[in-house]
Amino acid sequence: MAQDQNNHDNPDTPADQAEAGTQDTGEATAEAEQAGAAEIAELKDQVLRSLAEMENVKRRASRDIENAHKFAVEKLLSDLFPVVDSLEKAVETAEQTEGAQPIAEGVALSLKLFVDTLAKSGVEQIDPLGEPFDPQVHEAMTMVPNPAAEPNSVMDVMQKGYLLNGRLVRAAKVIVAKAPDA
């Protein structure tokens, strides 16, 4: 076959001269190779990072979308709760008013319709009368000494609270009982 460039057996052949030449450039080549290898390593790292970040972004995006579905109506609902509050008050008042029976009934039914419809959208009312006070879902408006009630329990609900798909949208506003000073 044709003369092999890397033939070491004949020191005087052009191959050897070529080799001498390659020895000088050998270092340069080695350096270039190292630099190349370093660059490859860096690029590889960048690629992996980018891929990883992409995976993360995909995951977060799908979670954001899921949350958006679950809680999209949160703003609308929290604006509607005062309407429920008012209807409840209306029913209360009407029940105490002479001759307001027909209206009371009508309003009570409207209220029921409203609350039932909200329930279908994943809304749950928090009405914790008598329960132990829980700051996760209740907001204490004031503390009142009350010998008849368990200390730190809810003795009055000023405004009902609401959960949407398990997330608190409005805390129940409550009055908490405390032990009377001895």
């Binding site: 960048q46 990072r49 980018s50 970040e53 993360n56 972004v57 995951r59 977060r60 949350n67 809680f71 949160e74 509050d85 008012s86 008050k89 209306a90 008042t93 008013t97 006070f133 700051p135 996760q136 209740h138 907001e139 204490a140 408006m141 004031t142 503390m143 730190n152 000023m158 405004q159 997330r167 608190l168 805390a171 506003k173 908490v176 405390k178």
Partner: protein, 644 residues
């Protein structure tokens, strides 16, 4: 290495943000809120509550519910601010052995960093839940006037929370970063007007460009630590209560639930009046007395609101002047004014700031989140993330080829991040067309001629076939350096041709902007052009298809049918010349009807013969199946004469 987060540790509220894909992102906590109250409570049963939970039980546990700890952190007990605070809060502030201000909770003494650490722990957890990985490093912001001891104490709080605080940066600096003020060339003097919930801070900062890097220096600060959005709310509440009292002789201040409802309604009204000139406050059953239930319904105009709070806004002006004086600057020295804090959303505030500085303030970044966002940006720079982002570019204008009717068919949309690759399958415009010209264009106009020509080449030796049959796959490959490789391959023969277009053969920034403006200005025109071309192509196909059908039908077609179809085809061709849309459509209708009868006959004849259906009966408008890209294959112009 994980992500470094940015935390705005505020006096009343805290916020955490992180850079994601080059964009700063505020993270919602587990309750779904973008900010967390800086309130910490130590309950009877040994629980530590942080945030909204702690706030909600404050009334039941006043001596162990801590807020505004920022006023104490890093200060000595004998400090004026601390002494003032003692009179204002219900929890016990005491002196530590080394003179620092500490807080006594359930008989135990706690250092303020320990308490603030609880808030930081929650922000850390919030970030970890969102990112799905551990977070150990953060950048935290502090007011510009914080001294060394306060900064160190904040750092300690971070450490206690398990965070390595990579840097403490000033709040106004963070805000400036959020506004990208560090991207401008040269030096700038910036005024930061921060009107939040409880405090007002104004800072003058100087951004200097030194060796390509931007350095921030706070020249002066001033403010009013007892002026904020809550004071504005109070004015509205008092007004509403007073009006109600006039009509109902009941003082709502003494009814806790009524007061709470008033407070919420007042804040809501204030916010609405930033966008409308009038709002209605409607509070049914606000209270009751022996005469029955009472309702509050009041209209509030923006003008009225402004008259109620005018003096509060005015109070912010003299601190700005003092800050300028301290920095030895005049109003004209200020290059940019930025607004931070929710209350700056109020039009009156923006107007007053504008008339003071003689220029519009920047307010395009969410004022409640600007500081956290700036901290996140700083965090990303420290993590080395930001440089990666700079590698990604976008192509400023759409790229595509010229197709039948001198239309530009886009392959790569403008503002696509590069590198990117897109392929699409095209076909021939005429029967037995043996070559296609790929004319590469750049621009936003629908008419090919209105865009910039980047280059062209031919793909030849396409085997003769009816028009629309050959599948020519055109690929655009744009690399990170902006070099575009365009190739065209005949799928049948595998023959391929390509061209390389260097980035510099495109347009300058100005030209790009001009093109985009032009495209918008001419969008109506372009739309009509596109419709017209679509119509023409359809009409062409129809004529072609009809004539072909006649040929194939031969003697199956009666003389009348032949005549009708020929005439209709001729008339359509005439109409096409005129360019009258309705005329063309009418003639197309005529031709369709004329050929319909013949088509029917042909189908029946074949069904009888039970032979395979004719090939190009559908006029060649659709791609021959098989290829995924050939969704809307179109036709290409051919230039037979030049053979390169």
């Amino acid at each position: 290495m994980g992500k470094i987060i940015g935390i705005d540790l505020g006096t009343t509220n805290s916020c955490v943000a992180v850079m994601e894909g080059g964009e700063p992102r505020v993270i919602e906590n587990s309750e779904g809120d973008r900010t967390t109250p800086s309130v910490i409570a130590y309950t009877e049963d040994g629980e530590i509550l942080v945030g909204q939970n702690a706030k909600r039980q404050a009334v039941t546990n006043p001596t162990n519910t801590l807020f505004a700890v920022k006023r104490l952190i890093g200060r000595k007990f004998k400090d004026d601010v601390v002494q003032k605070d003692i009179k204002m809060v219900l929890y016990k502030i005491s002196e530590a052995a080394n003179g620092d201000a500490w807080i006594e909770v359930k008989g135990e003494k706690l250092a303020p960093p320990q308490v603030s650490a609880e808030t930081l722990k929650k922000m850390k957890k919030t970030a970890e839940e969102y990112l799905g990985e551990e977070v150990t490093e953060a950048v935290i912001t502090v007011p510009a006037y914080f001294n060394d001891s306060q900064r160190q104490a904040t750092k300690d709080a971070g450490k206690i929370a398990g965070l390595d605080v990579k840097r403490i940066i000033n709040e106004p600096t963070a805000a400036a970063l959020a506004y990208g003020l560090d991207k401008k060339r040269g030096d700038a003097k910036v005024a930061v007007y921060d009107l939040g919930g409880g405090t007002f801070d104004v800072s003058i900062i100087e951004i200097a460009e030194v060796d390509g890097e931007h350095q921030f220096e706070v020249l002066s600060t001033n403010g009013d630590t007892f002026l904020g959005g809550e004071d504005f709310d109070l004015r509205i509440i008092d007004y509403l209560a007073d009006e109600f009292k006039k009509d109902n002789s009941v003082d709502l201040h003494s009814d806790p639930l009524a007061l709470q409802r008033l407070k919420e309604a007042a804040e809501k009204a204030k916010i609405e009046l930033s966008n409308s000139s009038q709002t209605e406050i409607n509070l049914p059953y606000i209270t009751a007395d022996q005469t029955g239930p009472k309702h509050l319904v009041l209209k509030l105009t923006r003008a009225k609101l402004e008259s109620l709070v005018e003096d509060l806004v005015q109070r912010t002006i003299s601190p700005i002047q003092t800050a300028l004086d301290d920095a030895s600057l005049t109003i004209s020295d200020i290059d940019d004014v930025i607004l931070v804090g929710g209350q700056t959303r109020m039009p009156l505030v923006q107007e007053k700031v504008k008339s003071f500085f003689g220029k519009d303030a920047r307010r395009d970044v969410n004022p409640d989140e600007a500081v956290a966002i700036g901290a996140a940006i700083q965090a990303a720079v420290l993590a080395g993330d930001v440089t990666d982002v700079l590698l990604l570019d976008v192509t400023p204008l759409s790229l595509g080829i010229e197709t039948l009717g001198s239309v530009m068919s886009v392959l790569i949309e403008k503002n696509t991040t590069i590198p990117t690759k897109k392929t699409q399958t095209f076909s021939t415009a005429d029967d037995n067309q043996t070559a296609v010209t790929i004319h590469v264009l750049q621009g936003e106009r629908k008419q090919a001629g209105q865009n910039k020509s980047l280059g062209q080449f031919n793909l030849e030796d396409i085997p003769p076939a009816p028009r629309g049959m050959p599948q020519i796959e055109v690929a655009f490959d744009l690399d990170a350096n902006g070099i575009l490789n365009v190739s065209a391959k005949d799928k049948a023969t595998g023959k391929e041709q390509s061209i390389v277009i260097k980035a510099s053969s495109g347009l300058s920034d100005e030209e790009i902007e001009q093109m985009i403006r032009d495209a918008e200005a001419h969008s109506e025109e372009d739309k009509k052009f596109e419709e017209m071309v679509g119509l023409r192509n359809q009409a062409d196909s129809l004529v072609h298809g009809a004539r072909k059908a006649l040929e194939e039908a031969g003697d199956k077609a009666s003389a009348e049918e032949k005549e009708a179809i020929e005439n209709a085809a001729k008339e359509l061709e005439e109409a096409l010349k005129s360019g009258d849309k309705e005329g063309i459509e009418a003639k197309m209708q005529t031709l369709s009807q004329a050929s319909a009868g013949l088509a029917q006959k042909m189908y029946e004849a074949e069904a009888a013969e039970a032979g395979p259906g004719p090939g190009a009966q559908d006029g060649g408008q659709n791609a021959s199946g098989g290829s995924d890209d050939a969704v809307d294959a179109e036709f290409e112009e051919v230039k037979d004469e030049d053979k390169k």
